[in-house]
């Protein structure tokens, strides 16, 4: 089997002879040997040369897929553009361009291509992919109601009623948000007509009626829903809310009883119960309902409402409301209110004979108001009473009870009480894991890192003794997270986060070889494009081994790659590049215009670097016209002027537009102030274009200028000699030009 180079030569030979079929045959052999994007692209060009659009498109598609898979999005973009040049309605190319634009965050362009793709797919009858694209468009722009209506209509045509109902529901919601109630109702009803048992639609239309104040219609919907979904608590809840709003409390309670019968801890039901009982004037019943789910309720409410709720039930349950009010006020830094609530709690505990608890409350309050002598006196009195009674909490309570109490203190932020209780217990039950966990929490809450780590270490031993290695490892990790600098943790292992990225400092006798894993990891990151991660590891290793050349080299390579990485550049372009414009039919255009409202705009036309890079990509894959367009734009930037002019001149030459190439180069030369090598290189290029354009004298004169600067520059002497001959021959040709008119054809 001939190798790649031989096959390429063979194909070139056939092409040079104009034997396109044979060139294609050879190129196909080459593709069998080494299929890649460039070979498919070349094959596509050959087919195109032959006029075989079908095979040309197929080859271009394969090339584009290769480039996409290899991450060369720019080249893929160019290929899709080539495809659209041949077939402007190619759905795959339009879809792919939509995807590329979507990835780049250019929503308008993405939608434009997707819409064009749907148009083509519709015409071709490819329905399956059509829906996929609709979903994508909706994801990009979820609030386009007309488009969703169109999609719903198509779903109906295809018999996909559930999907259609869903879309109509979405449309109804969108109109409702816009306060276009008539339209909202219209689409709710359309959705319901298609699928009368759609729970979401029923809920939607019910809410709509509720918001519109039409409770009778709302309740009718809910009755229907209950018959359809008798086990659904949400339906009963919604129904109860409507009854409650209608002040039909008995019916509401009946619905809520259905809910709690199925889900006793349902917070919403409990709240609604409470509301209804309050409306009925039965606050105690309301509080009983609330108490079951009080903490969940408070979490759901904003603090103002929560405080208001608790205050309203203070007369019914001062202890439970007081405890929670302390916590809420503390969360908001309302120290004075905290103190007031603590003192109130102290009174309640005292009344209940719970002197210890009362003292704790007072002590907490005293921390806030240290100048309150009367409070100090109250505490002193109570403490005397406690001592006199020789009551010991430690003796009265079991360890578990005490821990439970400590938990309550912690929960309500009574840290001093918790500390007194739990630290006392430590002597009594030194091996109690639960106790040490509570102590750890206490110290963490009071920001005592040292003691928190101590508790972790104690727990580590306890877990170790119990053989629970998993818990032991977990507690070590936690200790590291509390204070990674704590010297007691040295030698206890690395934190998980550091295990992955940070090399351990070298100990005595450790060499670079001991860090081979870290180096390999850095290499891996670098290859994956995670340059920051790779750099971080390498920089740390460099600090440890400053003399190691290979680390230095890797860092240099990494930095260079950051600056020059084509992939990096490509990614950069992908954020901003311009893509070919699809042709939109008028009805598609109207939908598209809907999308444009409120969406982002296209990239800045003046993004010169992007245009330049795009120009290079287009030129490489043979899209010369597009390359010219990009270089014309990038040339506006003074920094890219020379490079763009040079590329533009090359593109013009490829199209045989020598006079334009001459104009571009002349313009560049005129603007160059320094007579450096770059200037003379432009001059040389200019002379070459003059030569190609048949401006022999201008070419000769320009070469002569270059010769005057540096007689050894490129092949100036050879070019001048060649031109001399040509000028002479040209003069001779001119003489005989008239005679040629004497020849004609029969």
């Amino acid at each position: 089997m001939p190798n790649k180079a031989t096959l390429i030569k063979e194909a070139q030979k056939y092409l040079a002879k104009g034997q396109v079929d044979k060139a294609i045959e050879t190129w196909q052999k080459l593709i069998k040997e080494c299929p890649d994007g460039n070979t498919y692209n070349a094959l596509g060009d050959l087919y195109l040369k032959k006029g075989d659009k079908k095979n040309s498109l197929e080859a271009f598609h394969k090339a584009a897929t290769f480039f996409m898979n290899e991450g060369f999005s720019l080249k893929a973009l160019g290929l899709f553009k080539k495809i659209l040049n041949i077939n402007p309605s190619d759905p795959d190319a339009l879809f792919a361009l939509g995807q590329i634009n979507e990835e780049r965050g250019l929503k308008i362009d993405a939608i434009k291509y997707y819409l064009s793709a749907t148009d083509s797919l519709t015409k071709e009858g490819q329905k399956e992919k059509l829906f996929e694209i609709y979903e994508r468009i909706i994801t990009i722009s979820p609030s386009n109601a007309p488009f969703r209506v169109k999609v719903a209509e198509i779903y109906i045509k295809e018999g996909l009623l559930s999907e259609a109902a869903k879309e109509y529901l979405n449309v109804a919601r969108l109109y409702e948000e816009k306060e276009e109630t008539e339209k909202a109702l219209e689409y709710y009803q359309k959705s319901l007509e298609i699928q009368p048992s759609n729970k979401e639609t029923i809920a939607g239309i019910t809410n709509f009626y509720m918001r519109a104040g039409n409770l009778d219609l709302a309740i009718e919907q809910m009755k229907n829903a209950i018959s359809l979904f008798p086990q659904d608590t949400d339906v009963y809840l919604q129904c109860a809310e409507i009854y409650s709003a209608m002040e039909r409390f008995d019916d509401a309670i009946a619905c809520l009883s259905q809910v709690t019968g199925k889900d006793p801890s349902n917070v919403t039901a409990a709240r609604l119960f409470g509301k209804i009982y309050i409306k009925n004037g039965d606050r105690e019943k309301a509080w009983t309902k609330y108490l079951n789910v009080l903490d969940e309720m408070l979490l759901d409410m904003n603090s103002g409402d929560a405080i208001e709720l608790l205050e309203s039930f203070k007369d019914i349950d001062p202890l439970e409301t007081g405890k929670r009010l302390v916590t809420l006020h503390r969360q908001h830094g309302e120290n004075q209110k905290v103190a007031e609530e603590l003192i109130a709690l102290g009174s309640i505990f005292t009344e209940k004979g719970m002197q210890k608890e009362a003292v704790n409350c007072y002590r907490e309050a005293l921390l806030i108001t240290p100048a309150d002598d009367s409070l100090r006196a109250v505490i002193a009195n109570l403490e005397r009473e406690i001592r006199a009674a020789h009551v010991s909490i430690k003796e009265d309570k079991t360890v578990d009870e005490a821990i439970a109490e400590g938990k309550v203190f912690l929960q309500y932020g009574l840290y001093e009480d918790a500390r007194n209780l739990l630290e006392d217990l430590r002597e009594k039950a030194p091996d109690n894991i639960e106790l040490h966990l509570k102590l750890k929490s206490l110290y963490m809450n009071t920001d005592n890192k040292n003691k928190a780590v101590t508790e972790c270490l104690v727990l580590c031993d306890l877990y170790g003794n119990a053989g629970d290695t998993e818990a032991r490892d977990r507690i070590i990790k936690e200790a590291f997270s509390i204070d990674p600098e704590d010297p007691r943790l040295i030698g206890m292992g690395k934190t998980p986060a550091r295990e992955e990225t940070v090399p351990v400092p070298p100990g005595e006798g450790l060499s670079i070889e001991d860090y081979s894993e870290e180096i390999a990891e850095a290499d891996f990151y670098a290859k994956q494009g995670l340059k920051d991660e790779a750099k971080e590891i390498l920089e740390k290793l460099q600090k440890l081994f400053p003399e190691r050349e290979e680390i230095r080299q890797k860092l240099i390579a990494l930095k260079a790659a950051e600056e020059e990485s084509p992939l990096g550049a490509e990614e950069k372009i992908l954020e901003k590049e311009i893509t070919p414009e699809p042709i939109l039919d008028s009805d598609i255009l109207s939908i598209f215009n809907e999308f444009k409202k409120g969406l982002d705009t296209k990239i800045d036309e003046k993004d010169h670097e992007t245009h330049y890079n795009l120009g290079l990509a287009y030129k490489e894959i043979g899209l010369i016209d597009d390359a010219i367009k990009e270089f014309q734009l990038s040339r506006d930037n003074p920094q890219a002027f020379l490079s763009s002019s040079s590329m533009l001149s090359m593109c013009y030459q490829e199209k045989g537009l020598y006079s334009l190439a001459i104009e571009v180069l002349n313009n560049a030369v005129e603007k160059m102030k320094d007579r450096d090598e770059a200037f003379w290189a432009f001059k040389y290029d200019l002379a070459e274009v003059y030569e190609k354009n048949g401006n022999l004298k201008e070419a000769f004169d320009t070469y002569t200028e270059v010769y005057g600067w540096n007689a050894g520059f490129r092949d100036v002497p050879g070019k001048m000699k060649q031109l001399e001959v040509q000028i002479q021959q040209s003069a001779e040709k001119g003489k005989s030009r008239d005679q040629k008119a004497r020849i004609s054809y029969l």
Binding site: K9, K17, I743, L746
Partner: protein, 274 residues
């Protein structure tokens, strides 16, 4: 880029497009030119040049045309490109080439116009020369009779117009369509293929005109070029042009016999007689 730069050539040396700059002066063609000039200057009326494909008939015709300056000669070269030419169309074209103003459609009027124009040329002191290439395609007795008619137009110095027919060996048969015309042939020249020596000189000459002064084809290659082309100039051009392209693709500084053979096979030439 093709092989030009690689072999230091300014232009393609073996193009089959007729270009007088590449004309290879060889004894056979030189003799033919002298004979043609003799026919014109002595107003003999009709000369015929017959040769196989690629032997240089068209080159000779164009070269001869260049030699006829406009002050002394009203010369035209008509290239026949298809065989369905009618006598009327031929006359119209002839009239136009000779500079007849307002060419009429009617054949009688047209002939009259041509006759008048030929007299004008003659009175201007110039000689009318009409050359026709690929005349074997005009296989029509009627057309031949028309030519004979013009050859009957005479002045004391000789014929009023001189025709130079160039064509393949079939031209003999075409002339036989009108025996009186055949008998009016004043000079008949037969061109032959190049000898091996001339083939070599021809190649050297064309390379030299194209700007190459070094040896590109080995002796072995030259020998095979002659063998495969049988000295036919057009085939020599085809073989040499393809060989230079092949040599460039293979990056060979010299074209050897192996390349020539490869190329000849590609051109479907007979290589069995080695």
């Amino acid at each position: 880029m093709d092989y030009l730069e690689y072999y230091g050539l300014k232009e393609h040396p073996f193009s089959n497009v007729v270009d007088n700059r590449f004309y290879f002066s060889n004894p056979q063609h030189s003799t033919a030119l002298v004979k043609l000039k003799y026919v014109v200057d002595t107003r003999k009326g009709l000369a015929v040049v017959i040769g196989d494909i690629g032997t240089g008939k068209t080159t000779l015709a164009r070269l001869f045309l260049e030699q006829l300056n406009e002050k002394e000669y009203e010369a035209a070269l008509l290239m026949v490109v298809h065989s369905t030419v009618s006598a009327e169309w031929l006359l119209k074209k002839l009239a136009m080439q000779l500079g007849v103003p307002d060419v009429k459609e009617d054949k009688v009027e047209l002939v009259s116009q041509i006759y008048k124009r030929l007299h004008e040329i003659n009175e201007e002191g110039r000689t009318a020369v009409v050359m026709l290439d690929e005349v074997q395609m005009l296989s029509s007795k009627g057309i031949m009779e028309e030519f004979r008619g013009f050859l009957n137009m005479e002045i004391p110095e000789g014929k009023l117009v001189n025709f130079m027919f160039f064509g393949l060996p079939d031209l003999d048969d075409v002339l036989s369509l009108d025996e009186p015309l055949r008998q009016r042939v004043a000079v008949k020249i037969r061109l032959k293929a190049f000898s091996e020596e001339n083939t070599k000189n021809y190649i050297d000459h064309r390379l030299s005109v194209a700007g190459c002064n070094k040896i590109i084809f080995t002796d072995d290659a030259l020998k095979l070029i002659f063998q495969y082309s049988r000295g036919v100039a057009r085939l020599i051009n085809a073989v040499c042009d393809n060989a230079l392209l092949e040599g460039y693709l293979l990056k060979m500084d010299c074209i050897d016999g192996q390349i020539i053979k490869t190329v000849a096979i590609g051109l479907d030439l007979d290589v069995t007689g080695e």
